[in-house]
């Protein structure tokens, strides 16, 4: 191109100004507009929470509280499950559904109890979640309840195109139900099938709602978003055990702080035979399966 030749563009001064103005307006809107729950300022979160409390109380005609308790410093939650104790009674599933306001119809269950053949060992290709005998345990079967493994190297949080799911400092993988666009990439990424999609508007009958909610946990979900186990964030951040643990009649589930050397979890990790599901995928779950005997 010759040196003296000028490059003319069709952009007029007016066009440039309007595009610049639109960009500025866009930037302003993004900065002041809706935000993901983990980057929202505290006072705006409080506002949103009081709005939710009002809405939910009205919807379920009872007093609902939405907690915004943050992570405790020095805490990294982990759960362990004793495969030699679990007898597949599914009481944990029931407790989880009630505690976390999961949809009854259509049915959404965060815990899936897989029945497996003792001869074959842990084999997901042969696992049966629909077992329905008169009595459990059945001969020659063992049971592996699977929910969110709260991976330290979580594939689900990496694939989310909008950043609507992330790991909290205490290790709980959470979802922002208002930011989720329902693309279900995280469900495809999760090797444990732990995430569940609301194909229809979830329904919780009046009077069966757990009114003690957390903004990242068991508050009602809209249609078209993904949900999953949050280690009962509304309970565990208040110091309590998760609902599934307390419901288990065999005492197979154990929960605690992995950073506390005195905790039950550390005792298990140091003294028991522990295994991870699909360890070869390097997801580094904080959900440990062990043999108590």
């Amino acid at each position: 191109m010759a040196k003296d030749e000028t490059v003319t563009t069709d952009v007029t001064r007016r066009q440039f100004a309007s595009v610049a103005a639109a960009a500025a307006a866009g930037w302003l809107l993004t900065a002041c507009g809706p935000r993901r729950l983990h980057e929202i300022p505290r006072d705006r979160l409080r506002e949103a929470i009081s709005e939710w409390e009002r809405d939910y109380s009205e919807k379920y005609s009872q007093a609902v509280t939405v907690s915004d308790t943050g992570p405790m410093p020095g805490v990294l939650f982990a759960m362990a499950l004793d495969l030699s104790r679990c007898n597949g009674n599914r009481l944990c599933v029931d407790a989880c559904v009630t505690e976390n306001n999961q949809s009854r119809d259509p049915e959404v269950q965060w815990i899936r109890v897989l029945s497996m053949d003792k001869e074959k060992g842990i084999d997901f290709a042969d696992a049966d979640p629909y077992y329905d005998p008169k009595e459990v345990p059945e001969p020659n079967r063992f049971y592996v309840p699977v929910a969110c493994q709260h991976c330290r190297n979580a594939p689900c949080t990496k694939v989310c195109p909008v950043g609507a799911t992330w790991t909290e400092p205490d290790g709980i993988v959470v979802i922002d139900y208002d930011w989720c666009i329902g693309c279900r990439c995280c469900m495809a990424a999760c090797p444990y099938g732990a995430r569940h999609f609301n194909w229809q508007a979830p329904s919780v009958p009046q009077g069966q709602v757990n009114p003690s909610m957390h903004y990242l946990g068991n508050r009602p979900r809209p249609k078209g978003v993904v949900e999953k186990c949050t280690f009962c964030i509304q309970r565990t951040r208040a110091g309590r055990y998760p609902a599934c643990l307390e419901a288990c009649p065999t005492g197979a589930r154990k929960f605690g702080n992995m950073l506390d050397p005195e905790s039950e979890i550390r005792y298990i990790l140091e003294n028991k035979r522990v295994l991870l599901l699909k360890q070869e995928l390097n997801t580094m779950p904080k959900f440990f399966y062990f043999y108590g005997t």
Partner: protein, 192 residues
């Protein structure tokens, strides 16, 4: 002879192993909410983390306790002969090393309201886990660490333990089969 030596040596070994680090039990007369609960302080490596745990009272069958109401010297003198029971307690079927044991291996002959260890030391029903721990030392250790058995409460604070006998009947300790909750529905398929 041969019969008694095996459980005794077993118990002595268990006692030697656990005697040093027994659960410190201190019966609290009254607490606000759990009147009849026993408070147990599980052994911790650091004394700073002494957690309060509670155990509900032992699950007696209706109207059997205190045993001394029937079993006293005058009404019912103790009969130390090993025999099948016919007149009373015949509903109890022992399926717990029944070849080698019977009632008076755990229940105390002289004080019917208490149990006794292999050493002869009597133990209240609230502390029956010490009897179980004589043979099941590994489970006892796990239970004290909070790893065997069901817990209710706080992961970093007060929690409720259960006694061994709350889940395992001492006479037939195998965990009972349960009826499972209904299976999940299979996913809906779109109509064609």
């Amino acid at each position: 002879m041969h019969r008694t030596v095996i459980p005794l040596s077993c118990a002595v070994a268990a006692l030697a192993a656990w005697g040093c680090g027994r659960v410190g039990v201190d019966r609290v007369a009254t607490t606000e909410s759990h009147q009849a609960m026993t408070a147990i302080v599980p052994p911790r490596a650091s004394a700073a983390v002494q957690l309060r745990v509670e155990v509900p009272p032992p699950p007696f069958s209706e109207g059997v306790f205190p045993c001394s109401e029937c079993h006293n010297e005058t009404d019912l003198p103790p009969n130390r002969t090993r025999r099948p029971l016919v007149d009373a307690h015949d509903e109890i079927v022992l399926k717990h090393d029944e070849e080698n044991r019977w009632c008076l291996d755990c229940h105390d002959t002289n004080n019917r309201d208490r149990l006794h260890l292999a050493s002869g030391e009597t133990v209240a029903f609230e502390e029956s886990y010490r009897i179980c721990g004589q043979c099941h030392g590994e489970k006892y250790r796990d239970w004290r660490a909070g790893v065997h058995g069901r817990r209710i409460g706080e992961w970093n604070g007060a929690k409720q333990y259960l006694l061994c006998v709350h889940c395992h009947s001492p006479h037939q300790p195998r965990f009972k089969s349960l009826e499972p909750r209904p299976a999940p529905r299979r996913p809906m398929r779109p109509a064609r």
